[in-house]
Symmetry: C3
């Protein structure tokens, strides 16, 4: 009797070991496809108010321990500019350079801009409440390890050269953004 029991136990045990091995495979696959502690932002807008919102969210998430990837494209690239150069650009790219802000301090607001009065008003109201300026938030983001990526394709179309952008900017394309967004806990298009 004991011998038979032991045999049947051994066979049960082997079947159980197989089920456990199968669970180990399935759980490893689940673990491998979980999102990172990551937030992924597209900054498409070049409006002061929207770029401010992007950096408030980015620095907040970084302070909470998330890896934050900010992908600047189109008008958003103007927020990363520190100067404007015209040489080596096509006529249309030169026109675009002249008609868009030369630096973050020149960003308009999305509403009631009135040729920059709205931007100055918003900046003054933030200062009155002792809230960090956009430039202060950008420095904070860098200090917190936020990754700032400039969209290659937009740079090419608008003719924005790397030397016009602030230091520390990385470069990438839509695959860079998707590589981040598809394994992020949240993604926003701003």
């Amino acid at each position: 009797m004991a011998a038979i029991d032991a045999l049947s136990t051994t066979s049960d045990s082997a079947r159980l070991a197989e089920r456990v091995a199968e669970l180990e495979r399935r759980i490893a696959q689940l673990e491998g496809s979980q999102p990172d502690d990551r937030l992924s932002l597209v900054v498409f807008s070049g409006d002061l108010d929207r770029v401010l919102a992007a950096f408030v969210i980015a620095t907040g998430a970084a302070a909470m321990g998330q890896q934050v990837d900010m992908f600047f494209t189109f008008w958003g690239l103007t927020a990363l500019k520190t100067n404007t150069q015209l040489s080596g650009k096509t006529f249309l790219q030169q026109m675009m350079s002249v008609m868009t802000p030369a630096a973050s301090t020149g960003l308009p607001v999305s509403r009631m801009n009135y040729f920059g009065a709205g931007s100055r008003m918003l900046r003054a109201m933030m200062q009155q409440q002792n809230i960090e300026s956009l430039e202060g938030l950008m420095t904070l983001a860098r200090d917190l390890g936020v990754t700032v990526i400039a969209c290659d394709m937009s740079q090419n179309v608008m003719g924005i050269r790397d030397e016009e952008l602030m230091p520390g900017v990385e470069h990438g394309g839509v695959a860079t953004f998707l590589g981040s967004a598809l394994r992020a806990r949240a993604s926003l298009f701003i």
Copy 2:
């Protein structure tokens, strides 16, 4: 023989029990990091058409059993206003109060607003199709348990007082939003 088999089985069984215990730890960790049945929305825009889209999505998701958190910031706060008060505000805040809508019924559309004609046109077109008005959707959202949160920092900058907002609004900051977005199934910036 039987004794040896049983011994070896016991030892296999102990090893298997350890593997199962390890799986239990890993699966508990996975379960703990899964998103809630939750949708998280930033309503940054104060345009009637975009705020409408936000409430259509919010009420739709709530009706499907999702917890919905709507985080109103910047121009989006004007959608929550029911009146405008000027006392106790700085000059710039008073200017902002006068230049932005005093209530949801005064929201402009993002395009072709023509001093409010566009908004009236959109509202008329919705009524012709028997679609709920923005104010009706707001009531529905409240009835469905949607959480409406006003951004503290934006309120401070713009000088919007709690008494100017509709009843039932909660208050929070960027950490409140991220606390929701990072464990939501989807997050949108509107």
Copy 3:
């Protein structure tokens, strides 16, 4: 002794089998609630620059093997139009038809549009860099199996008829969008 060991092993083994069965239930539940390889986009904007960004992201994600669902609502619907018909529309819907672009080639840019000059400038700058036009990206999206869905409610409000839209467009409501977004790896509101 051997008989007692075997008995105790059998009972341990039964308990272990129960724990494994419980793990199998929990892991199946986890697997069932994982997101698909899916990207979900709301295209609310009818601005050329934003619609371009949507299609660059959509085609990039589709090329990376993601199922992409693009949900066109409100102004975004104008990007799907190929012609404008006025018969059978209310007066307001006719006005809306006349005041919005009749096709994707007529979309304005979100900034510096100057009655279409901005759009032509952007299209020329893209061509100079050999970047696919919006219409080319739309064809690519279709070839890559991107799902293009027109929002029923917006179509009704604006009076846009199915015959005005490009072929191959599916139709859906907010539940269609949420059904996609709540099981997507990332969702964006553009």
